[in-house]
Subunit: 142 residues, 2 copies
């Protein structure tokens, strides 16, 4: 192919999904960044700040701000690591956990209901293609 339509539709799909998630989690007083962090910790139990950054793909300076807000809201705890004193580890608090127990299943159902317009095979191919693109653009970037 010789045009950028794929980029356009990728950006559109992203935008739609992002807006959906934004509107969804807004009901719970969260923004997308905050939700992403909670989601990462919901699946991983314990992560360093760096660990979250690697998952969520937000610059570290932004992440500090996001984490600060989540701590203020008492959704996560942040403790100095004993092993590496530069590092902090993050965990959901009980409040955070119960919020996520409530939100996540709904969020997942919403997202799945969109993905389910694709059949199994299509989704597989889509995934593979996106992974390739994600990887390549990371290499080209450097």
């Amino acid at each position: 192919m010789n045009n950028l339509k794929t980029i356009t539709v990728l950006f559109r799909a992203y935008n739609s999904l992002e807006k959906m998630i934004r509107d969804d989690v807004f009901q719970y007083g969260l923004n997308v960044s905050e939700f992403s962090v909670l989601e990462a910790l919901y699946h991983k139990e314990k992560l360093s700040v760096k660990g979250v950054i690697d998952k969520v793909l937000v610059p570290n300076s932004s992440m500090s701000y996001v984490i600060e807000n989540l701590v203020k809201k008492n959704y996560i705890s942040k403790n100095k690591s004993d092993i590496d004193k530069r590092s902090f580890y993050l965990q959901l608090t009980d409040v955070g956990k119960s919020i996520m127990d409530r939100i996540f299943p709904i969020h997942k159902k919403n997202m799945r209901s969109i993905l389910d317009v694709l059949d199994e095979k299509e989704e597989e191919v889509l995934q593979k293609a996106l992974i390739k693109i994600g990887k390549t653009s990371k290499i080209v970037k450097q």
Copy 2:
């Protein structure tokens, strides 16, 4: 499928591409929003503010700001429409046009070099899948 991996890899792919574009157009003193507007006008010659919003998928309040900056930089002109006096039409200035003549081919080549890790068929399937997702999430949203 029963997980959100597709969402994750979609967000990752988007992030990589977006960061690439950001770093690329930064050299020319542009941010991604500004570049997107220029790109829309590069292909369409003349568009109303609303026309650009529909293409670029940015809230109108944000768009006012982006357009204001592009006018300040003298990359686009903005004129009241005679037909509909609520409306303004936007066009690239000569400066804007020559900037885009310089940037766009490089941008296109960069983007294509990423997309070209996919073969023709894969890219086609990817496009179709993304279009479906974009459409669906728009419907669910309302």
